[in-house]
Each structure stands twice: as C-alpha cells, then as structure tokens.
C-alpha cells in the first residue's frame, strides 16, 4: 500500500509542477464545452429573435402585375427591392448566392386572378442554404396566407362559408415541459463532461508507459524491488485524481455558464441546480476509473508519446458513439442500456436535466457495471505492465 501511495504522491507532484500540461488538462477540457455551448446558444437565440422583427428585403420581378400582393407583403414587414430583369437571371443569381430568394410574378397574374384561374407566383430559393431558407420560409408563409385570404374572400362572395374549406380543425398539443425541451439541447452536455474528465488524466495515462519509456526512466523504475502492479496502480490513481478535479471544474463551469444563457427565451429551463450538479458528479464518478484504465491500456501499446497522444485523441471520441446511436434511434432509458458505460451516464443525466424522476435500479446498474468494467480494465493494465514488450 505504501508503494502505491509513494507512486501516487510523486505522480501528483510531477504533474502539478508541469504547469503547461496541467493548464491544458484542467482548463482546456472543462472550459471548452461550456464556452462553445454558450456561444452557440447565444448565437442561435440572437438569430431567431432578430429574424422575426427584422424587415426582410424581397427582390421581386413583376410587381406591377400584382399591386395588392405586393401591398400584402409590405404590410407583413417586407421591403420590395430591385431584382434581376428576367426569371432566368434570377435563378442564376440565387444559385450564385447574390440573392437569397427572388419572387417572380407572372405577366398574366392579374388576368388569371380576375378569371378565377390559379395565378402563377414563383419563389426561387436554395433549400440547401439554411440561413437563406429561413427567409424563404417567411416569404412562403406570407404567400400561403395571402392565398388563403383570397380563397376565403372568393367563397364569401359566392355565399359559401369559408369554414367549408376547413374540414379539419388541427390542434397541435405539445406536452413537453420547459425542462424537457432543454434535454434536446443539452444532450451533448454529458459528452462534454466525459471529454473534460478524460482530458484531465490523459497526460498521466500516457506518462505511465510511453512517457516513462521515452524519458528512459522506465527501466530503472522496473529494476526496483517493487511489484509492477503496484506501480501501475499508483499511476492510475494519480490520473484518477486529476480526472476528478477536471470533472468537478467542468460541472462547475457549466453551472455558471448556464446562468448566462438566456435559455428561457427558447422556452427551456434546464434543471441544473446545485443538487443536480452534485448528483451528476456522483453519477459520473465511477467512469473515472474506467477512463483512466482504458487510456493507460491504450497508451501502453504505443511506441512513443506522440503515438499515444494520437491514439488517445481518437479514443476521446469513443464515448460519443453510444450517445450518437441513442440520439439517432431516440432510445428511452431502459434497464439493459444501463450496462453500457458512458451511455448509461448520458441517459441518466438527461433524465435529471429534464427533471424526470431517476430510476434507482438504473442508477445502481450504471454505477456497478461501470465500476466493475473499470476494475477489470485496471487489472488488465497491471497484467500487461508485466510484459517485456512494454520496454519498447
């Protein structure tokens, strides 16, 4: 036990003195997620809020053929501006991105309208361009509602109730709660926590094998009267300590960052108070040992520090895989899914953020299976630390 502790203390001291590595591990990981999140959310809120109020410039061809329609668009907060001369030129201009959209009113618009024949209005836009599509949708909706108004007027003029045109009364009832809606947005949050946690221990995990080897300190260390398993344990525990620190920092920074995100304006109130932060920490804690063991294991097969770094960067993406599959298949938390580390933490965390009651059986399975797999991998690391190939 003393050996494990000696190694642990030395590794912690060594890592703390390595300022640059420590900074990147403890600052980059925990801060990267929340900052990115706050940025994206603020940007999207800003856009969605400003778009509705902003006067939209609509390039329009043939305004003289449909003065009433033009008037209708203007009253819907749109501004008619100059457009290319012909419809062919308009198509080209939209393709090239010179215009986001162009409305073309056919020359016979007035005449067909008078004769109660469908009058042609073209809306040229590029649906692949998401930001332009938002504007096009506004114009499209305005055109549809103008269409409906005209239809209703025609029916009234002929003595038919406009309600005949509405055989169905469709009412869309949304049962989602403000906390529930935030689950969609904050789904990736659990990955940020796991990412930050892994970042915190990555350098120590590499150092255990590839780092020591590259420095030439592995052989003298192994020549000491100490069993290799104990050396490995001390190193894994040291990595765990920094991973826990990193996890705490990332939870705290997320907690603070959420206060600066005007999520209520998107109709979301994530349930992420201090009690949830503590629960999330306890829920993610078992993943620390597993993460440290996996990273150490992968690093032990590499030949150099650089190679280990490359492999571990790839490994960082591994916990996203189950999360990705789940969001694609929109799986609900199920008992059998709780056996899968990272996935179980993700599902439970989402439940908490959505303010849904936690299933205690699920929590127990998640904690126990993650701890068991972590212990198994640690044992495997200790075994592999005995092989000669380790010396490189």
């Amino acid at each position: 036990m003393r050996t494990v502790f000696t190694v642990f203390v030395k590794e912690v001291l060594d890592n703390i003195r390595d300022r640059r590595t420590l900074m990147s591990a403890l600052l980059m990981g925990p801060l990267f997620g929340p900052i990115l999140f706050a940025f994206v959310i603020n940007l999207s809120i800003e856009r969605s809020l400003s778009d509705g109020e902003k006067t939209l410039d609509v390039p329009l061809i043939g305004a003289e053929h449909a003065p009433n329609l033009v008037q209708y668009l203007v009253s819907n907060n749109m501004n008619i501006v100059a457009a290319p001369a012909t419809s062919e030129e308009a198509v080209r201009a939209v393709k090239l991105g010179e215009h986001d959209l162009v409305v073309v009113i056919a020359a016979d618009f007035g005449e067909r309208l008078r004769n109660s024949l469908p009058a042609k209005v073209e809306l040229i836009s590029d649906r692949a361009n998401t930001s332009a599509e938002r504007d096009a949708r506004r114009v499209r909706n305005a055109l549809y509602s103008y269409n409906r108004e005209l239809a209703a007027l025609r029916l009234s003029a002929r003595g038919v109730s406009p309600l005949t045109m509405r055989p169905l009364n469709i009412d869309d009832v949304d049962v989602s709660t403000p906390s529930g809606r935030s689950g969609i947005l904050l789904g990736m949050m659990s990955y940020f926590f796991i990412f930050a946690m892994l970042m915190g221990g990555m350098y120590l995990a590499i150092d255990t094998t590839a780092g020591e080897r590259e420095r030439g300190s592995l052989e003298p260390l192994l020549a000491l009267p100490v069993t290799r398993g104990r050396l490995m344990l001390g190193k894994i525990f040291a990595a765990c300590l920094f991973m826990v620190l990193s996890l705490m920092l990332s939870l705290a920074s997320f907690f603070v960052a959420l206060k600066f995100m005007p999520l209520e304006q998107l109709g979301m109130t994530p349930n992420f108070g201090p009690d949830v932060v503590v629960k999330a920490f306890l829920l993610l804690l078992p993943f620390v040992l597993l993460g440290a063991a996996v990273m150490t294991l992968v690093a032990s097969f590499t030949k150099s520090y650089k190679e280990a770094q490359t492999w571990l960067s790839v490994l960082m993406l591994a916990p996203t895989l189950p999360i990705l599959v789940v969001s694609l298949l929109t799986l609900r938390p199920r008992t059998e899914l709780m056996f899968i580390p990272s996935l179980s933490q993700h599902l439970l965390l989402i439940d908490m953020v959505k303010n849904e009651p936690l299933n205690l059986l699920h929590v127990a399975i998640s904690v126990i299976s993650t701890l068991l797999i972590g212990t198994l991998l640690t044992w495997l690391c200790a075994r592999l630390y005995r092989r000669e190939g380790l010396l490189g």
Partner: protein, 242 residues
C-alpha cells in the same frame, strides 16, 4: 554475488545472447567487455529482471532472477543504459522517490538521501530540478538513486558513457570504494582501457557468447598477446567467425 548460467535471449530473429555464463563474486569488480551489439546490455537486463531469459538461469545472492525476481531486485542496485530522471523533480526528490520505493523507512529517507548526495558530490545541484542537467550530473543522480538502498550487488550498464574526465575519475573511485566495502560490482563497457584499469575480472563477450574470461593477466596469457587490446581483438574475432 551474481551467477549467470548459460542464458539465451532472442528478440524476433535476432539471437542476442547465446549461452552466456560467468560468476561475479563479492568484493570484486567484474567487467563485461565487448563490442557494440555483443549482448552485454541484454545480459545485464536479464540480471536486473526486466527481461526473462529464454533458456538458462541467473541468480543474485542465490535468488533466481525469474522465480524470485522481487527478492533478487531487493539486493541489487541497477543503472540501466541511458537512465532518465524525472525532469520536474529536483535531484534530491528523484533520489528520495527511489528510496521510498525501495522500502526505506520514512524517518530514515532524508538521512540516507543526504548521505548519498554527499558521497556522489551532488550537493551543489541537489535542490535544482533535473531538467537541463548535464550528462555527468544526470548520471551521478541516476547512480545515487540506484545506490540509495545500499544494495549488495551493483549492476552498471555503460556508466561512463558521456562523462568527462573528472566525472569518469569520480565514478572510478566510487566503484573502487564499493568493491572495498565488499560489494559485488558488475559493469559493462566497450572501452577496453577503462575495464583494464578497474576490473579484477574481465568477461569478454562477442556475438552473444563469452569469448574469454579471467583477470587481465590471465587473458593476456591465454591469448598469447602481450597487449590487452590485441588479446581483446583476437578473442572477439575468434567468436565472430562462427
């Protein structure tokens, strides 16, 4: 007391050590002499238990290096080739770390470390971080940490590599002092003069085999050469042929 009995070691297709046997008794300096790639380092790595021999056996103070490797390591201080230090720790901390790992009681560590620092003349840079140390300073710290637990057997792999004249001299004095304390010192080198000047027994290794062994006198007689260098060349060319 180190005994090596017919060890073999193969790495992939390279048969690095092909049946090396020799004894290194207490109170004597035994030199492992041989050209580059002769199998010296591999033999020593088997002795400080980081490698397992494919065949044959070796023991340190009667402890088998494979079956009782922990006990064998306990009575051995090893300085592997190109030993690295921890750059963020001071020289003193590097040595104290090894002292703690070797199981020296916590209350005695400071005293032990201070003693070895003085013995190896490290005092001037003992409390500086080892990052940026010269080769000579690094070797001295590495040597200090492998000797901090007072091992009876000392295995040094090319310890004088990269040392200047003064440092080499200091090292030589230390090795002689360890011998006079009655310890078993085994070291490897490819520099013949060094081995000739220092060793009581010489084991010439070439091509993974022992080409010749004995005192400098004995080797000269055996090979029929007056000059040790000629004897060395004669011995290794004999083996290299087969």
């Amino acid at each position: 007391m180190i005994k090596v009995d017919g060890i073999h070691k193969t790495f992939g297709k390279v048969h690095a050590v092909r049946g090396v046997s020799f004894d290194a008794p207490d109170g004597k300096i035994t030199g492992l002499l041989g050209p580059n790639g002769a199998g010296k380092s591999t033999t020593l790595r088997v002795l400080y238990t980081v490698l397992k021999p494919d065949e044959g056996s070796a023991s340190i103070d009667g402890k088998d290096v494979v079956t009782e490797s922990l006990e064998a390591r306990r009575c051995t201080g090893a300085l592997p080739h190109g030993s690295g230090l921890y750059p963020h720790l001071t020289a003193r901390e590097n040595i104290a770390y090894y002292a703690a790992l070797c199981g020296i009681p916590r209350s005695l560590i400071d005293e032990k470390v201070a003693g070895i620092i003085e013995l190896l003349d490290i005092t001037a840079f003992a409390d500086r971080r080892t990052k940026g140390f010269s080769q000579g300073q690094r070797t001295r710290v590495a040597l200090a940490r492998s000797l901090v637990h007072d091992p009876q057997n000392i295995i040094l792999d090319e310890p004088s590599n990269g040392l200047d004249v003064m440092a080499t001299r200091a090292l030589r004095e230390l090795i002689l002092k360890l011998r006079d304390d009655g310890r078993c010192v085994l070291f490897s080198s490819h520099v013949m003069q060094e081995v000739a000047a220092l060793c009581d027994d010489i084991v010439i290794i070439a091509n993974g085999r022992v080409a010749m062994e004995g005192s400098a006198e004995h080797i000269r007689e055996q090979s029929g050469c007056d000059d040790l260098e000629d004897a060395f060349v004669a011995a290794i060319t004999n083996v290299a042929d087969d």
